[in-house]
Subunit: 131 residues, 2 copies
DNA sequence: AATTATTTGTTATATTATAACATTATGTAA
DNA sequence: TTACATAATGTTATAATATAACAAATAATT
């Protein structure tokens, strides 16, 4: 039996909710919001989140313990992610920059370790908050 | 009254313990280990950790919720950090690469947002685990 | 239909982190 | 040096994030 390719009901519910949001969502706030759709327990949300991250439909913003939908169709399925985060309004945007992703994907330091994945988070003030 | 510059007792205890460790440490494992030195509560550890991160003596590995001592004397005080993480043995090393840090510190994408801080985590298999 | 792997539901619990408030220590300045 | 302000600490309780364990249901494979 192979892993399903389509999304299961719970995964779809969680994904729909995250995609509608303009900001990163926390697991328990998702849980609260999808209770009316039959999802009752944290694990149901976390399992859906895990899978959605795995297949690259969403990403986890590690410094915020929050999740955003992938806006980048070219995204290398959750293997190479970069975000810009405003430290004032907490606005998060996925950085989509070919040069950057090439640079990082090919990065190799003296350790000789070859990386197959990275996550980068930039912090600063967004245009609105800089004023 | 200005913030102290030297480390307080708790901060020193926590820093000493982290510096002695060869691997990233979690807050509660630090707490357990420094109890004999009079630190009794999570908050005492978290407050020390916060300050130590702020002044760049340690860094937080966001994807692991763990803390490592800064091994990089050139480190721009916790504003520009990069790590390589082995997904098998969980070994973590601070990446110290001038080209990389220059590239990222100067990075600007189309959003026009100017970043003053970043954190990058590379994942892969270390030499030992690749075998 | 029997087999197997996968997904789901459910309860309980582990882990990580902060709120709130009282107390003590330390620097500043009249 | 005494008042004042700010900073650091201690302590208890609680919030927020995440997983363990196991039984039940579902779906692909033989
Ligand atoms: Zn993406
Ligand atoms: Zn902003
Ligand atoms: Zn460092
Ligand atoms: Zn390894």
């Amino acid at each position: 039996m192979q892993k399903q390719e389509h999304l299961t009901k719970n995964q779809q519910i969680v994904l729909d909710f995250i995609e509608k949001s303009s900001e990163p969502l926390k697991a328990y706030s998702i849980l609260f919001s999808v209770k009316k759709q039959g999802i009752k327990a944290p694990l149901q949300v976390y399992r859906a989140l895990d899978r959605l991250v795995e297949i690259g439909k969403i990403h986890k913003i590690e410094s915020r313990n929050a999740f955003v939908a992938c806006k980048n169709s070219n995204c290398q399925v959750s293997k190479a992610t970069a975000f810009s985060i405003c430290e004032s309004c907490e606005d998060v945007t996925e950085v989509s920059n070919l040069k950057l992703s090439k640079y990082l994907s090919n990065f190799a330091d003296k350790s000789g370790m070859k990386y197959n994945k990275y996550n980068l988070e930039f912090f600063g003030l967004c245009k609105k908050c800089k004023k």
